[in-house]
């Protein structure tokens, strides 16, 4: 028998690699990212676990929401990673990192216990594992930039993973913290990035290109507004005046889409369905480093938006709308005159019969 064909270079070797994903859900979070991950379809959780893409390494995901094991049997992987028994591994952090410097003899969040019975804090786990991880991925806005638990007046001093490790931090494989913001992160954005990293670690994909806020550029390169199906209403200076049945642009009702980097209007939420302004909900800027404080109150129009919407509404907007509607009505909504059932051909073709 001939050996099996290789569809990607070194496929047999790369598929023999086992990469572990240690997904810690014990940051200050709601675990919404893990829950959202189970709804991903491109790729799905099963696609990753069953090595659906040629060349991808075998991926073992250790995540508390889906794990078969319980308690210490589950935690063992973390101790194994610390001892170098799981190589390579990707450390995924979900939830913000509290400032345990201020929690005295207590703790804000922990996972597993030390020999003295006291919890091992998330911060200690990051200190133990980050230096050994091939990549550190922060999923969800809590882990990337602090998010809701890091709101003004919060009692825990919460922060994002790059705030904790340092924005210049690099993994053993030379990667900065990879940030997948979103509250929760869009499901496919998470699984796709994990797949990308698995392929990268197998030598099949280049270093992921990240922007200044450590987001993958191909996912977060455009604003919500730049992808929104309601954006043209803005151009027309035509704005929704109430939530719900009014399908026009939502900026005057509080949508923050013009100043938010996120791909949800094009990717939808589950399997392409749902989203935010594209289905009627205001964008509340949940992917952004300035979320939530800089965008509150969410249901009010921001000062900058007021100036810009006023400009669109009272200058070029109505002109564009009038001109376009007029040309639709007078021209494009009408068929060319040669489509008819009369006993003559008027299409311009010179018939020979």
């Amino acid at each position: 028998m001939a050996t099996q064909t290789e569809f990607v270079p070194g496929q047999h070797d790369t598929e023999a690699v086992t990469a572990h994903v240690l997904w810690m859900t014990i940051g200050l979070s709601c675990e919404g990212d893990s829950v959202a991950m189970t709804s991903a379809t491109n790729p799905s959780l099963e696609d990753i676990i069953t090595q659906a893409i040629p060349g991808m390494p075998k991926v073992v995901i250790h995540n508390q929401v889906i794990a078969y094991e319980v308690g210490d049997e589950f935690i063992q992987a973390w101790f194994d990673a610390e001892e170098g028994k799981l190589d390579p591994f990707v450390l995924v952090i979900e939830g913000s990192v509290p400032n345990e410097n201020i929690s005295g003899e207590g703790y804000f969040t922990g996972f597993g216990v030390k020999p003295d019975g006291q919890p091992i804090t998330l911060n200690e786990w990051i200190d133990r594992l980050a230096p050994k991880a091939a990549a550190v991925v922060a999923v969800g806005t809590c882990a990337t930039y602090g998010g809701i638990p890091a709101m003004k007046n919060n009692p825990t001093g919460a922060m994002g993973v790059p705030d904790y490790l340092g924005w210049d931090w690099k993994s053993s494989a030379g990667l900065p913290v990879v940030c997948i913001p979103g509250c929760p992160a869009q499901p496919d954005n998470m699984t796709e990035t994990l797949l990308y990293l698995a392929l990268h670690l197998a030598g099949l994909a280049p270093v992921p290109e990240l922007d200044e806020a450590l987001r993958p550029k191909w996912l977060f390169g455009r604003t919500v507004h730049e992808s929104c199906n309601r954006a043209a209403f803005y151009e027309h200076g035509d704005f929704a005046t109430e939530y719900g049945s009014d399908h026009r642009c939502l900026v005057k009702l509080g949508c923050k889409g013009p100043v938010v980097k996120c791909n949800v209007p094009v990717r939808g939420w589950v399997n392409g369905l749902g989203g935010c302004p594209n289905v009627g909900g205001i964008c509340m800027a949940c992917t952004m480093p300035g979320f939530p404080d800089k965008y509150m109150p969410f249901m009010d129009e921001s000062r900058n938006a007021k100036a810009s919407t006023t400009l669109a509404k009272f200058t070029y907007g109505p002109l564009l709308r009038w001109g376009r509607n007029r040309s639709i009505k007078n021209n494009y909504d009408k068929e060319p005159e040669w489509r008819h059932n009369r006993s003559e051909l008027t299409t311009g073709y010179q018939k020979n019969w």
């Binding site: 014990i26 189970t38 508390q64 929401v65 308690g71 210490d72 939530y243 049945s245 399997n271």
Partner: protein, 594 residues
């Protein structure tokens, strides 16, 4: 509760301290710490602990009340939409706004889809992994042998010939039914997104109504998925019945696993737009018109279905949690409710959060979870009630109250009758859930599967009503409002796994106090000021051990089933130490004390 510490003199008693931390296949950080008597196959003591503290009510003080649903949604990654919904019901009361009928129906359609999703994924991708072939082989091999030769009574309907075939179908990531459910859990979330925008933190659920663009297309997309789900439920319910009945039959006494007194709370959910006006003063009436009837059961008796009375019974107790008592240092914000009834200083409207991180000490403070209790004035006691994981309490109260009858579902006083319409692969089917004698792990799990049907039928009924609105051109789904300078309000809802309340006090147009009480504090609470253990603790302490493994290879499966039957959701955890355990004491004869 059962706390047995002193062995009889004629016995050698092997007692081990074991903990499971974290409890997986739930959402959140939960640890369960136990003391197990292997000689008598029972759990002596249990402590439930949560590892995470964030302080929502602290950083919400002073913000615009209209931000409350966006912020509180982030309390939980699986019940986030339940929080957003509850917050909007609460805000509707504070602002005095009633959404148009399509707005109320959109809330119901979104939330019923959430229940359909949540109960499906929790049943068959999380809790029932404890009943799968792989697990039963590791914990009770002789039971698996028996399952191989036991035919499934409902095999003709669900397609699995033996009980062991059902167990195999539930094996994680290989079992056919497990994999199908992962898929079901996606299209039900698509249904949610049609009205809620995103799951689990919605973008279109607002005070005043729903901002989704609701058209014929929205309804069609929902309809086809819903009928697919009803088709799935027709196989799911009899399959689970067969599996759970097998355990009860083959392991006599299994009805004591996770057993508690029937002390239940359920706030009811799904408002009927014809009745609800969101006014506190009429809450008794519109509460009783809900598609799931609110109720409180104490010692197996339904004592009220009145949301006003229920509201006034709630007490927040501390005890074993890492907080200082607020009643020592603050004066109550609310002394009378809008009807003039007196409000207790320990009521959520008056709760203040004073965190104090400290070492974990099971003899003193060991959890970030507080202890909500129901004050029973008849006996002057604070009763520790649970949510039965949601469906158990909802169906128990609804069945007993006998108020619900919307065609597809009828509450009879002792049962709930449901009619599932014809679907692509199956004819019309009738099912009936009977109020069980005991509140235990199996019955909580069973109630959840019947609730999959119940939720789908609420969805179907509300979809038909929504279609009427859309077809008549009544597509308005939101009404405007203004935020008052001062208000006292409450939202009562049900998260998939049980009671959810949001209490708010507005002063100077800003939030002065916002107290969300999800199901977790009710179920996962530690011992309270009176020393009364929380429901997980209580249920585990009542649990006999059926696992065939001895202390050396003990997996604690019966304890896991007891805990998971509550559908824990703690963006909090249960702790068992290492699998081998730590021998705490091996007593031969009691020393001195008789």
């Amino acid at each position: 509760m059962a706390t047995v510490e002193t062995p009889r003199p004629d016995q050698n008693v092997m007692v081990k301290e074991m903990s499971w931390d974290p409890i997986t296949r739930i959402v959140g950080s939960l640890g369960i710490h136990t003391e197990i008597d292997f000689t008598n196959s029972k759990v002596n003591k249990c402590y439930s602990t949560s590892m995470v503290f964030r302080g929502f009510d602290i950083f919400m003080k002073g913000i615009d009340p209209r931000d409350a649903h966006f912020i509180t949604s982030r309390i939980c990654g699986i019940c986030g939409d339940n929080h957003a919904t509850c917050s909007c019901l609460n805000q509707n009361m504070a602002y005095g706004v009633k959404p148009p009928p399509l707005g109320d129906l959109a809330f119901n359609l979104a939330e019923s889809a959430d229940y359909m999703f949540d109960h499906a994924i929790f049943n068959d991708c999380m809790a029932n992994v404890d009943f799968c072939e792989q697990m039963v082989k590791e914990t009770n091999p002789s039971l698996l042998e028996k399952a191989e030769t036991t035919p499934s009574p409902g095999g003709d309907i669900h397609g699995y010939k033996t009980i062991a075939d059902i167990m195999r179908a539930l094996n994680p990531f290989t079992g056919e039914f497990y994999l199908e459910t992962l898929h079901v859990a996606r299209y039900t979330r698509e249904m949610y997104c049609l009205f809620g925008g995103r799951h689990t933190h919605p973008s279109t659920i607002l005070p005043g109504g729903c901002s989704a663009d609701i058209t014929h297309q929205t309804c069609t997309d929902y309809y086809v998925r819903l009928m697919r789900y009803i088709d799935y439920v027709k196989r799911t319910v009899p399959m689970h019945d067969d599996l759970y009945d097998f355990f009860l039959q083959e392991l006599p006494g299994y009805d004591m696993v996770g057993f508690r007194e029937t002390n239940l709370v359920n706030w009811g959910s799904f408002d009927d737009p014809d009745y609800v006006d969101y006014d506190y003063k009429t809450m008794t009436d519109w509460g009783r018109a809900r598609y799931i009837t609110p109720g409180v059961a104490i010692n197996g008796e339904l004592i009220t279905t009145d949301l006003v009375e229920i509201n006034l019974m709630i007490r927040i107790m501390l005890g074993s949690s890492y907080f200082d008592d607020w009643t020592d240092s603050t004066t109550p914000l609310v002394t009378k409710d809008p009807l003039g009834n007196p409000v207790d200083p320990r009521h959520p409207w008056n709760k203040r959060t004073l965190p104090k991180p400290q070492k974990r000490d099971y003899a003193d403070k060991y959890s970030w979870v507080v202890s909500p209790r129901m004050y029973d004035k008849r006996t002057d006691t604070e009763v520790c009630c649970d949510t039965g994981g949601g469906p158990f309490a909802r169906q128990w109260c609804t069945a007993k109250a006998g108020l619900v009858d919307f065609g597809y579902v009828k509450a009879t006083g002792h049962s709930i009758q449901m009619v599932l319409p014809r679907t692509a692969s199956a004819p019309e089917m009738e099912i009936e859930w009977h109020v069980p004698e005991k509140s235990n792990a199996i019955e909580r799990d069973r109630a959840r599967t019947y609730h999959q049907a119940y939720s789908a039928l609420i969805g179907l009924h509300c979809l038909e009503r929504a279609l009427k609105e859309v077809r008549a051109g009544r597509t308005k789904s939101w009404n405007d409002f203004t935020v008052p300078d001062t208000a006292v309000s409450v939202g009562f809802h049900e998260a998939a796994r049980g009671v959810l309340s949001h209490h708010m006090v507005i002063q100077d147009g800003k939030i002065e106090n916002y107290q969300p009480y999800p199901p977790t504090p009710w179920n996962a609470s530690p011992r309270d000021t009176n020393g009364t253990p929380g429901p997980y603790e209580d249920a585990v302490q009542n649990t006999p051990i059926f696992e065939e493994n001895g202390p050396e290879n003990f997996k604690g499966i019966d304890i896991m089933r007891a805990v998971r039957s509550f559908d824990p959701c703690l963006p909090c955890g249960v702790h068992m130490y290492d699998a081998k355990g730590r021998v705490k004491k091996v007593m031969h004869t009691p020393t001195g004390l008789a």
